[in-house]
């Protein structure tokens, strides 16, 4: 049995305007280690409280060129993260609706020909890599 583990994502300790390293990593699609390196190299603006880094939310998008699709996707994901707690439920509800709309649009376009079997695709993907 392993003696200990670390939960990387700890939202509870992040000040309102800041992100934890794990939150920033998720939004940027980077690893925790990469985000820490960005902080050390000054590519991301952040500050240390005790042993933990916090990242300025506003600094996050600056790693991407505004106007690119990736930038917009990151900003969209960040918008959910940045929502005040009281509006979080509405954000989640809107996310559920948005995913459902996309799913139904695909379903309509494909008609009855639902060629997507995600479990099978995933099994193939896992065996190939």
């Amino acid at each position: 049995m392993l003696a200990y583990y670390v939960v990387v994502d700890d939202n509870a300790t992040a000040p309102d305007a800041m992100l934890t390293v794990s939150e920033a990593a998720r939004l940027l699609g980077r690893s925790i280690e990469q985000v820490r390196r960005y902080l050390r190299e000054g590519k991301l603006r952040g500050r240390r409280i005790g042993r933990q880094w916090f990242i300025d939310r506003a600094a996050l998008g600056k790693l991407y060129m505004p106007g690119t699709r990736r930038y917009l996707m990151v900003r969209e994901a960040a918008a959910v993260m940045e929502a005040p707690k009281e509006t979080m439920n509405e954000e989640i509800a809107e996310l559920i609706r948005r995913v459902a709309r996309n799913r139904e649009a695909i379903r309509r376009r494909l008609g009855g020909d639902l060629r997507i079997d995600v479990v099978e695709l995933l099994r193939i993907d896992r065996e190939e890599h």
Binding site: R26, L27, N102, D117, R123, D125
Partner: protein
């Protein structure tokens, strides 16, 4: 309550499937109740890869793939990425006799977080059970 979600479950929710009602009910209940959702970093690679595979094969249009991936990225999933995940995954793969240590990363996160793994992969579900890890198969 927390759940470790695997890619099969989330992809089933993101993309139209022949029967995804139970998955939708399960996941959307978790989301609206604010349950903690956790996963290894592998989740992001697998979801992206399967979406791209569908786009490449012509089943998804680029804008549909973008919308599915964007929806996934907006989910409040906490990534658990520590050395312990991989050490435990290696241990689980050995115990299960697996030559690879990909999907066992979900089991490692579930064990470390002391929560059930939720999956539509029957093999992963059975592996979890054989290791004494709680598992949900919401289909």
């Amino acid at each position: 309550m927390a759940f470790c979600l695997d890619a099969s479950l989330l992809l089933n929710w993101l993309l139209p499937q022949r029967s995804s009602v139970a998955v939708g009910d399960f996941l959307e209940t978790c989301l609206t109740r604010g349950e903690q959702l956790v996963a290894p970093p592998l989740l992001f690679a697998e979801v992206t890869s399967v979406i791209r595979r569908q786009e490449h094969g012509g089943a998804l249009l680029p804008q549909e793939a973008d919308a599915a991936l964007t929806g996934f990225l907006a989910l409040p999933v906490s990534v658990v990425h520590t050395g312990e995940v991989y050490l435990l995954a290696l241990d689980f793969a050995r115990r299960l006799g697996h030559a690879r240590a990909y999907d066992v990363q979900y089991l490692a996160v579930a064990r470390l977080q002391d929560c059930p793994v939720a999956t539509l992969d029957r093999g992963l579900y059975e592996s979890a059970r054989s290791l004494g890890i709680a598992a949900r198969f919401p289909a």
